[in-house]
Symmetry: C2
Subunit: 153 residues, 2 copies
DNA sequence: CGAGTTATTGATACACTGTCGCAAGTTTAT
DNA sequence: ATAAACTTGCGACAGTGTATCAATAACTCG
């Protein structure tokens, strides 16, 4: 590992997100640390309610309101991305600030991040015809990851 | 208009969706017709609850359950597409079966359909690196439509 | 056209997710 | 340590979507 500080590992995410939290003038409280810990330990996308349930099972739990408040902030700051696949629930995946997309495995639920994005370029001809001024987009890919494919009987 | 039957107008949508409904062995009841009528008359995306409220205001209303059931079917059959922009609610836009994307105007809420799609092509190099077998994707674009832009002061 | 068969409806009750307001408790800076 | 300010958590609430099931309406066939 050449550049430990720029590796996008869960531990690095955990640390960087906390630094960003403090830099934003927010306080690093016990409930917030518990939330960050749990997210850092998550191996794939998760819903807000999974997080609520997991922390309720712990002794020092965080309340639903606190959890939703921090999730909102983490998303707006780019440390989480919304996953829209199942629609009605607030689902998230760990993320790094910047423009990325996710490839979600429909079997195991793991989400891979794709940083190259030429979507707006490739759709530009169609948009030009519509005379539509584009501000942003949501792209989410679904499929089967390597692990699940090799494990298929 | 050269090919009236292939025009993608609201009236054609209304007719084709009903034909598809019958072809699927489903019955064309009064509540279902009211729902199709309202959707055909809609000028942009709408939420399930807007539809519920609109039909409640009519004399012969359809119940919430009936509405949600038909919306589910219309979506699964490709006559509606889910709009994910506001997240928690079930929002839809009129649609034609086949692969399309939507460009949603953030000012007026109108949704334009984009039929050309080279998204998976353009993202293929990144996916190859991940060894991810792609099954499908969700793409939604946000921006400002011509009307709203020319109307800006 | 009328009776039988079967899908569909709607009412109600329910479950779940997410939000709000405020008093009490923590964190941070001095 | 102390004060100021932010944060928490509780409880109550609201909105959205779902399940159940008897009553009803739509098709089909003779």
């Amino acid at each position: 590992m050449a550049h430990a500080s720029s590796d996008q590992t869960p531990a690095t995410w955990r640390h960087s997100a906390e630094v960003a939290l403090r830099a934003a003038g927010l306080r690093c409280t016990f409930p917030r640390r518990a939330i960050l810990d749990w997210i850092a330990a998550a191996t794939g996308p998760f819903t807000a309610e999974q997080l609520v349930a997991a922390l309720e099972a712990q002794h020092g739990s965080s309340s639903r309101a606190t959890i939703y408040r921090l999730l909102d902030w983490l998303q707006s700051a780019g440390w989480l991305t919304r996953i829209y696949s199942d629609g009605t629930q607030h689902a998230y995946a760990r993320f790094w600030p910047g423009h990325h997309h996710t490839a979600v495995c429909v079997r195991c639920g793991s989400a891979a991040v794709i940083s190259e994005c030429h979507v707006e370029e490739s759709i530009r001809p169609a948009l030009a015809a519509l005379d539509f001024e584009i501000h942003g987009h949501v792209l989410e890919l679904y499929g089967v990851c390597t692990n699940c494919r090799t494990r298929a009987d």
